[in-house]
């Protein structure tokens, strides 16, 4: 499997570390339902069969966290973006 890193180009997936579901947002720790929200955030997963937005970290490359959209049934990569978008960080 190859991941088209927006910074480094197409690289073997072995260069990246995987974290999983990128649709989750860290809840507000001050909210009254924080305990329940953090439980869902840390433990519950949609785990879809099909398109999946997921975090990959280019550990053996540019060290950028990426959000990769990938089909979990076919492994086809549908899209890649930096987790932290920033115009000034794309190489010339």
């Amino acid at each position: 499997m190859r991941i088209p890193c927006p910074y480094c180009g197409s690289r073997d997936a072995h260069e990246f570390a995987y974290l999983g579901d990128a649709t989750l947002t860290r809840p507000d720790p001050a909210a009254s339902d924080a305990a329940e929200a953090f439980h869902a955030y840390a433990y519950l997963r949609e785990n879809p069969e099909g398109a999946h937005r997921e975090y990959w970290y280019h550990a053996n490359g540019c060290r950028r966290w990426l959000v990769v959209t990938r089909n979990t049934r076919t492994h086809e990569i549908l899209g890649v973006a930096f987790a932290r978008p920033s115009t000034d960080e794309v190489p010339a």
Binding site: R2, A17, F38, A59
Partner: protein, 986 residues
């Protein structure tokens, strides 16, 4: 000898010697072991798996089910090697396998007489009485009888390599289709790789009597190879098997660099693993000739018609003194005629059809070949085939033949199309499965796609090659496809001869017969996957290439469902068996993983250090001195020296992370449970960080070097994990924070000097910096120079509990710093120590380390709960407050000392209340770390005990049955030495 008088792509001017089962034979360059054996009249080469029936050479390629041999000897022995793929070399040694005492007289061939008992699944129904007999009697017997060849049990002496390649068009297979495709793609300028498992390009063209562009096919092969070789954008890879298709248009291949020589040349690997990333791939892997199921279809001498023709045409070998061919299709007849053309004595072609197409009938007539139409082979004779019985409408007749070629039609070699989940589709018109969905970027051309005529193959190859290159962005070249005549491709689907008699085999290697398919049907194992698993059909080393088609056709007939509805099992990698060594490459034995030496490694070696692996690092464990009887004596000396005077250790392996930017303080407050934004410049602080689930991830000290500049240390084990975590927090959770991170673990050497005299040593190193207690207080940090101008960071930290400093200098200065420290410390008897003493010092102090930070413990468990700030949020705060983590009964960090001070305590012991039964239910905790404390004169331990803090002074059992130990220990504070921490502050 059955070498034909002329012909064959062999070099008859040179002779190669080889032995099989100790008998010496000769062959020629260009031979395979199989062709050379046949040329020497060796027809019995193996025994089958279950019944130990005599078996011969069945095919001419990598799908061979029968002719498996142990190739080479000693450490290079390769069991289960297919004689049909072994390129003959001078001095080759091979022996038959799975027989005892000899191939000719195999004792286990008695199993043949037990055949009525040994039907499919028999072992599931028996060997159960009595229960204890399975491991003791039945299983050892089965295990000895099972298996094929024997492993050498010696270290593989050869080396393997790995490589990546990238291309526009990968062409897999170099027959007519593959060559045409490669030519078309290459002429457009695309980067082309042409891979073929054979050692010679050409595929079937080396076997067939056909003309291309008006000349013999072999001339076309030679011209194509010459042109492709001349092009800089083409890489030809013969002896290279593409064994797997993977995601991202990746094809895994094995190049057999040295398997055709006795020993690899100097600096050459035996094999090379390629991962080829191809924009487009063309599968041109052709088709197999498949067997027909009939009684006795397994005797040595029975082989595919394609093999019969190939041995005659390509190798100049008659598979027997005379032969017949039994077929249901035009290609089978053509193969028979090709064999006859090469000089094989062909007694008859037996075709199940009532008539041959007229061109083939005419050719047969011209060659004087007898054709028996409407005929079936119903029996065979001979340990080595001597005769066959043919049944026609007019009766039966017996033909005396030594070889029988069989062809039940062509099975497209579509293995690779299934690797990403593609399911083959059945075509009634050609009685074959063709590729269904194929991997992205792959296209199939020629026989693999069900295009069996030569002209179709050449056209399809040319078209697909050009199209693939165009897809990859190259203009189509304007060369026409090579021209050839249409070859007949007619077939009448025919799977099994209905006749009583000997077993009729479906899977030759695993001895699955038509009767077994019947049992599976009766017992309900009808789905193809169940049929396969119950009978083991298709699970032999050919992975069903020879057997699947007939097996599922037989099942389809029994269920009446038809072949399309029955479906086929799918193929998975590898296409053919792959040496395990090549998949590892260089990463084996000592080179399994890289070794990270510390900056002072060479110095430590010079000091006689004993090293220990900690992750990839190699660290000094201790520094034995002459006369010391064991490691403990050395460690006791090192501990004592450090506590009483001064010791030194390289701590460069700790993770070091540089953090800069205006928001670093805020950032650290969010990742540590305690505050760092309030840390003064020039000070360091111990911090604990949690995972989001509330359990401790890591600990370490972080220092503030400037208002916007911190440097963090992590544990050795978690350096990478923490860095990745911090990057996640910054890039994903809080992108608004202005912080930059850099790992500086490799850039800085860090050496800890500890002990009451450490300040005096340090004073000699610094270039005038004030290192007094006032000038550099406990937890203070100095950025200065040492050794006359070397940049240095000095941290006044203490893991040992003694007055101590960690001095960091650029990594290349580490060794010099160590030597200088040793020189400066000489008057104080400075003592280098390693990880063992480091462990004793920290256990005596009750500091937690890797054994306690095991990912299962909370800050509260570790006695660090009070560090957590209540004024802020931080990673892990919310979930650390879950009820289970607040349970007062949770095991908590305490110390232990043996009640009988002479007794040894060991880490891993479980803790039980005195008098309680040793059960899981009564388990109250465990000991994590243990050391012999030379300071106290007895063993001490750290660990976790339920309600531990309330039980200080209580005696509990340290239960360690795996080491035969069960002792009483007293629960105590984990701080055994200097509990108030006064020594480090002086």
């Amino acid at each position: 000898m059955t070498r034909l008088s002329t012909g064959g792509l062999i070099d008859r001017s040179r002779t190669l010697s080889f032995t099989f089962d100790g008998v010496a034979y000769t062959g020629h360059p260009g031979d395979t072991l199989a062709s050379a054996l046949l040329a020497n009249g060796v027809r019995l080469v193996g025994r089958s798996f279950k019944y130990h029936r005599p078996r011969g050479i069945f095919t001419c390629g990598s799908e061979e089910p029968n002719a498996l041999v142990e190739l080479r000897t000693g450490a290079r022995k390769e069991p289960n090697t297919r004689a049909t793929t072994v390129e003959l070399f001078d001095g080759l040694v091979a022996q038959s396998q799975n027989r005892w005492p000899s191939l000719e007289h195999d004792a286990l061939s008695v199993n043949q007489w037990l055949t009525p008992f040994l039907g499919a699944g028999f072992y599931y129904k028996t060997f159960m009485w009595p229960a204890s007999f399975w491991e003791k009697v039945y299983e050892p017997t089965i295990r000895r009888a099972a298996g094929l060849g024997a492993a050498s049990e010696l270290v593989d002496p050869d080396t393997y390599e790995k490589a990546f390649a990238f291309c526009d068009v990968l062409v897999i297979g170099s027959g007519a289709t593959g060559l045409a495709a490669a030519l078309a793609a290459a002429r457009s300028g695309a980067r082309v790789i042409l891979a073929d498992e054979d050692f010679r390009l050409g595929g079937r063209l080396l076997t067939e009597n056909v003309a291309i562009d008006g000349a013999p096919a072999r001339d076309f092969v030679a011209r194509a190879e010459a042109e492709l070789s001349s092009l800089p954008n083409v890489r030809l890879m013969p002896r290279t098997t593409v064994f797997g298709a993977y995601d991202g248009s990746e094809y895994a291949c094995v190049e057999r660099v040295s398997d055709h020589v006795a020993v690899p040349a100097a600096f050459q690997p035996r094999q090379r693993l390629w991962r080829i990333i191809a924009k487009r791939a063309i599968l041109a892997t052709g088709a197999f000739d498949r067997p027909i199921v009939f009684p006795g279809n397994d005797r040595p001498g029975v082989m595919t018609a394609q093999a019969l023709a190939t041995y005659a045409q390509r190798f100049g070998v008659g598979a027997g003194a005379n032969a017949a061919v039994f077929t249901n299709n035009d290609a089978g007849v053509a193969a028979a005629l090709a064999a006859a053309n090469a000089g094989l004595t062909l007694e008859a072609v037996i075709d199940v059809r009532d008539a041959l197409p007229s061109p083939l009938a005419a050719k047969a007539k011209a060659l004087g070949v007898r054709v028996i139409t409407g005929g079936e082979v119903i029996a065979t004779k001979g340990k080595r085939l001597s005769a066959i019985t043919v049944r026609t409408k007019s009766g039966t007749q017996t033909l005396a033949v030594e070889a029988l070629g069989i062809s039940g039609g062509a099975t497209p070699n579509l293995n690779l199309t299934c690797h990403l989940g593609g399911k083959p589709v059945y075509r009634e018109d050609i009685a074959a499965f063709v590729p269904g969905a194929v991997p992205p970027g792959m296209s199939c051309a020629g026989a693999v796609a069900g295009q069996f005529s030569l002209s179709d193959c050449l056209n399809a190859g040319t078209e697909q090659g050009a199209a693939a290159a165009a897809d990859a962005g190259f203009a189509r070249a304007a060369a026409p496809a090579p021209k050839a005549e249409e070859t007949p491709t007619g077939i009448r689907a025919f799977w099994q001869v209905k006749a009583k008699g000997d077993l009729a085999f479906v899977d030759l290697q695993n001895d699955v017969s038509a009767k077994d398919v019947g049992i599976a049907h009766k017992e309900g194992f009808r789905a193809v996957e169940l049929l396969k698993r119950y009978t083991t059909m298709g699970m032999a080393t050919d992975q069903g290439k020879n057997s699947n088609m007939a097996g599922l056709a037989l099942m389809a007939e029994l269920t009446g469902q038809g072949i399309a509805a029955t479906g086929t099992t799918v193929f998975r990698p590898p296409y053919t068996p792959v040496a395990l060594g090549v998949l590892a490459g260089h990463h084996r034995e000592k080179d399994f993983r890289p070794t990270r030496p510390t900056p002072t490694h060479a110095w430590a070696e010079g000091q006689g250090a004993v090293f220990v692996e900690t992750g990839f690092w190699l660290r000094a464990a201790y520094f034995p001195k002459p006369g010391e009887k064991d490691w403990l004596e050395s460690v006791n000396r090192e501990v004592k020296a450090t506590r009483e005077s001064v010791g030194v250790i390289d701590v460069s392996t700790f993770g070091k992370i540089d953090l800069q930017g205006p928001d670093v303080g805020t950032f650290l407050d969010r990742v540590y449970i305690n505050m760092f934004s309030t840390l003064q410049v020039g000070k360091a602080r111990y911090g604990v960080m949690l995972r989001e689930d509330g359990l401790v991830m890591d600990d370490g000290t972080t220092a503030r070097l400037a208002d916007t500049h911190y440097v963090m240390t992590t544990t050795t084990a978690n350096a990478g994990k923490v860095f990745q975590h911090l990057e996640f927090c910054l890039q994903v959770l809080w992108p608004e924070l202005d912080v930059q991170l850099a790992s500086i673990s490799e850039q800085w050497a860090q050496i800890a000097v500890s002990g009451p005299r450490s300040r005096e040593v340090l004073a000699k190193l610094v270039d005038g910096h004030d290192v007094s207690n006032a000038g550099l207080p406990f937890m203070g940090v100095a950025q200065t120079t040492v050794l006359g101008g070397i940049e240095a960071r000095i941290f006044r930290l203490s893991f040992s509990g003694e007055l101590g400093y960690e001095i960091a200098v650029p990594a290349r200065q580490g060794e010099r710093l160590m030597e200088t420290i040793m020189e400066a410390g000489r008057p104080f008897g400075i003592t280098p120590y390693g990880t063992e003493t480091l462990g004793v010092l920290r256990i005596e102090k009750g500091h937690v380390s890797g054994s306690e930070l095991n990912g299962q413990t909370t800050a509260r468990d570790l006695g660090l709960g009070r560090m957590a700030s209540t004024k802020k949020d931080y990673i892990g705060r919310v979930l650390s407050q879950r009820p289970a983590f607040q349970d007062p009964a949770r095991p908590i960090f305490v110390g232990f000392k043996p009640v009988d001070k002479a007794q040894r305590l060991r880490a891993g012991a479980h803790l039980l209340t005195v008098g309680a039964q040793a059960t899981t239910h009564n388990d109250e905790g465990y000991v994590t770390s243990v050391a012999y404390s030379p300071t106290l004169g007895h063993f001490i331990g750290l660990g976790f005990l339920k309600r531990g803090l309330e039980r200080i002074g209580e005696q509990v059992r340290a239960y360690d049955p795996v080491r035969g130990s069960d002792i009483l220990v007293e629960v105590c504070s984990p701080a055994f030495v200097d509990p108030e921490g006064e020594k480090q502050r002086v």
